[in-house]
């Protein structure tokens, strides 16, 4: 079980909470479970969601493990110039 913090735009889809607990070992599983539990997560994922694990931001490596005690934030996937 990991606690996942959500940025503002995701909070309405979980009923307003700032974080949710998810039973997931890695990012892929996290996204899968969020999609199952909260159907309106899917369009956000499509637009791009990044995951910060202990301050290191992952945009693409969905195999990355989620340590139980880690600080985890979902963030918009940023573009660059």
């Amino acid at each position: 079980m990991v606690e996942v913090h959500l940025w503002g735009a995701l909070r309405p889809i979980v009923g307003g909470a700032h974080s949710v607990f998810v039973d997931a070992r890695n990012i892929r599983e996290l996204f899968k479970k969020l999609g199952e539990d909260y159907p309106s997560f899917e369009p956000h994922l499509k637009r791009g969601v990044a995951v910060s694990i202990n301050g290191k931001i992952y945009r693409d490596m969905w195999d990355t493990e989620l340590p139980g005690d880690a600080e985890i934030y979902l963030l918009p996937r940023i573009p660059g110039g």
Partner: protein
């Protein structure tokens, strides 16, 4: 072999030196080939018909007369680009932006395109196309677009991020919030509060090379595209998807790129050229005019930002709150969100909140522009921080140092920071001779900080050892600022070869796996990482071959300073083998020697900068000139310091232009009035002083050499640095960017009256 990407401190032999760039000679002799410098045999010339209206229904397009004009070989409208996007809103918007469908959404929106035997014929043909428009009310201002009375541009956009979902469509496609703590309590605890509203006008990346491509699609479905782009793999994938081609059948070759800064990360006319070529069954060259570039490529957002920051007498910030409205042009986007994430990132704040409001207006689709969305947010935050320091009576640098984020700080966008450089850049600024230099009459000094995320992404690199032992490195990220040199240095360092024996080329899309674009300051970071990994794989192979030559076990060979050596005395006593000797024998030890790597380079280091600006203001005309400018930025590790300086200087110059004179000016009719370099005023050589740079190196723990991206952060602080300098020079707090002379003079006159 998976790469251990963690930073390991070591003494470099070549990293940090300043060899000459491999593309220099072609560029100084006029031989380098850019988008418009390539011609295919028998090519047609294409031109695009663009809407003169900011918002209108397309009732009918009659191309019959144009089709009859001798020399016209193909004409396309949206009917030739069927919607194959299958519910993917982002792709559908991209398609609709390339060619208007039922409505035109901005002045300059493409409605038809012609391919003809020459430009003269194509121009004539455009005039023969009749478009019947039903003009609709339009809105181009970011604040006006949010008013209930504003015309709604898309009737299927309902604000996302609010519950319950709104019943009516609007021009606000999304809202979001970032932050932590209790800002209401924080403001109650404050002794001083600064609260102001800011506006920034829309700017363009202003690359000197207009978009250009040559497309060639055959009836058998195979195609080629020569194009100036920051990401040929992404262009390939998107063009193929929009045209219904198999991705593998479209081979994209990137030209030299004449500047991008984010503007060449999006497709614009390329699908039109491909569709014309397919229809005409001939190669088609399509070059945008400068006017087209301004009207119909992707400038950045204009913004409207409300900022409130409070602090105690001792200088501790107690709360900060920003409301940021950014437009995405005529399509839904999330630019305000990125502004909201970056706004307060420089500071260690107990109570902080930023709200983002995305807006849709009748302007061209917003594209990324160097650290997209961050400069405008930094303008508002750093202006307010400066004013707050004045109110408290603290030095502006000391106030920032006191509140600066550090390792372990919970960032305003959520996560806790690892090792970061904001404090170091501030300390360096405080001690910089620039800070103590005397100022002349009507001059003032200002400073500001900036933050950008940087990122990595999908990357793929091939290293091939040639029969004489020199090495080619094929990469898939476009070189926009000298990355061929920096990647060459990294390969040379890792392989232990002289830089001159490494040649780096940008491979076409059929020669290498997918690579993300050169954006997010990722070129040197991520391709560098993949190159280091490929070099290590290559070394492993070289050692294996040496082992065969010596007839000893593979693990009894080590690679030292570009040579294979027996590892330890019991491995045998052989003289070292050079890469040249191993390469010469390759045919008999297993064939060509290569090292490959495919990876996702996550974990780019966040980047911070502090800028110092001296400005002189003519109090009678509002005219200002930047007299001295210093950039201090953390590079993680500067692979090629001269080219890192170049990034710092270029970003600062763009930021100064943005601060002082650059802006999109729309008339009441919704038409862009300054679609050219005459009245879209980017800085010229005589507008600027030398730009001093100071490179700090706080290694990124997630890169083997410690690299952070360096390309983007330097454009973040200038808007505020210039504004703060202006405030100290002329006593006026400018809240509207650009600070053009009429705005500054008006502020000075208003000050006199009070």
């Amino acid at each position: 072999m998976p790469l251990d990407t963690s930073f390991v401190a070591r003494k470099f032999k070549q990293i940090g030196t300043r060899p000459l760039r491999p593309d220099g000679l072609d560029k100084v002799t006029g031989r380098a080939r850019y988008g418009a410098d390539y011609n295919a045999p028998g090519q047609l010339i294409a031109l695009v018909l663009r809407s003169p209206h900011p918002h209108a229904k397309i009732k009918k397009i009659d191309t019959s007369k144009a089709e009859k004009l001798p020399g016209v070989k193909a004409i396309i409208t949206s009917a030739d680009l069927p919607d194959l996007t299958n519910g993917d809103r982002g792709m559908r918007d991209m398609l609709e932006n390339c060619m208007a469908r039922k409505k035109v959404l901005y002045d300059g929106h493409a409605v038809a395109a012609v391919a003809a035997i020459d430009a003269t014929t194509a121009r004539k043909a455009l005039k023969l196309i009749k478009v019947d428009y039903e003009i609709l009310p339009h809105v181009t201002d970011v604040d006006e677009a949010l008013k209930p009375s504003a015309p709604v541009i898309h009737d299927d956009i309902f604000t996302d991020g609010v519950e319950p979902k709104p019943a009516k469509p609007s021009n606000n496609n999304k809202r979001a919030t970032f932050g932590h703590g209790d800002i209401e309590q924080g403001f109650k605890d404050a002794d001083f509060i600064v609260e102001r509203s800011f506006k920034t006008e829309q700017t363009h990346q202003g690359y000197i090379e207009p978009h250009a491509c040559v497309a060639n699609v055959n009836p058998d479905g195979q195609g080629e595209l020569w194009v100036c782009t920051q990401g040929h793999f992404v262009y390939r994938n998107q063009c193929a998807a929009l045209l219904g081609m198999d991705i593998s059948r479209l081979r994209v070759t990137a030209s030299e790129i004449g500047g991008g800064f984010g503007g060449k990360t999006h497709i614009w006319t390329e699908p039109l050229a491909l569709a014309l070529s397919r229809k005409a069954n001939k190669p088609v060259k399509l070059t945008m005019t400068r006017e087209d570039v301004f009207r119909a490529s992707g400038p950045t957002s204009s913004t409207s930002i409300d900022m409130k920051i409070g602090a105690k007498k001792d200088g501790t910030i107690t709360a900060a709150h920003g409301v940021l409205r950014y437009h995405g042009g005529a399509f839904p986007a999330t630019w305000a969100e990125f502004g909201a994430m970056t706004a307060f990132a420089c500071y260690d704040l107990k109570n902080v909140r930023s709200d983002s409001i995305e807006v849709i207006v009748n302007r061209p689709k917003t594209a990324a522009y160097r650290a997209p969305s961050a400069p405008m947010a930094a303008f508002a935050v750093e202006s307010a921080i400066d004013e707050l320091a004045h109110k408290i009576g603290m030095d502006a640098v000391d106030f920032r140092i006191k509140n600066a984020a550090k390792e372990g700080t919970k960032s305003s966008y959520g996560p806790v920071y690892g090792p970061i450089g904001i404090g170091a850049t501030l300390e360096a600024a405080k001690n910089h001779p620039h800070m103590k230099a005397p100022l002349g009459k009507n001059q003032g000094r200002g400073m500001a900080c900036g933050f950008w995320f940087n990122f990595g992404g999908q990357t793929c690199t091939d290293i091939n050892v040639t029969p004489d032992g020199s090495v080619t490195v094929a990469v898939g990220t476009i070189d926009v600022g000298g990355s061929r040199a920096s990647i060459g240095l990294m390969a040379a360092e890792e392989l232990g070869l002289p830089y001159e024996q490494v040649r780096v080329v940008i491979a076409d899309t059929s020669s290498l796996g997918h690579n993300d674009m050169t954006d997010g300051s990722r070129g040197t970071f991520s391709t560098g990482m993949a190159t280091v990994a490929a070099a290590r794989n290559c070394i492993k192979e070289l050692c294996k071959r040496a082992a065969k030559m010596w007839d000893i076990p593979e693990d009894a060979v080590e690679w030292v300073d570009g040579m294979a050596k027996p590892a330890g005395s019991n491995a045998g006593n052989f003289p070292p083998l050079s890469i040249k000797e191993i390469a010469a024998a390759a045919g008999n030890t297993g064939g060509p020697i290569a090292g490959h790597n495919e990876l996702v380079a996550d974990g780019a280091g966040v980047s911070f900068a502090t800028h110092i600006c001296d400005i002189e203001v003519d109090p009678e005309t509002g005219l200002s000139r930047v007299k001295r400018y210093t950039v201090i930025q953390d590079a993680g590790k500067a692979i090629h310091p001269t080219y890192v300086e170049g990034q710092y200087q270029g970003g600062a110059a763009q930021g100064i232009g943005w601060a002082l004179n650059e802006e999109y000016i729309y008339g009441k009719d919704g038409r862009l009035q300054n679609a050219g370099f005459l009245d879209y005023r980017i800085p010229v050589c005589s507008d600027l002083p030398f730009i001093d740079t100071m490179i700090l190196e706080i290694p990124n723990p997630n890169h083997p050499f410690g690299v952070r991206g360096v390309g983007e952060t330097s454009i973040v602080p200038p808007l505020a640095a210039v504004a703060n300098a202006m405030s100290n020079a002329a006593g006026v707090r400018m809240t509207h960017i650009p600070m053009s002379p009429p705005r500054v003079l008006k502020a000075i006159e208003a000050l006199k009256k009070h």
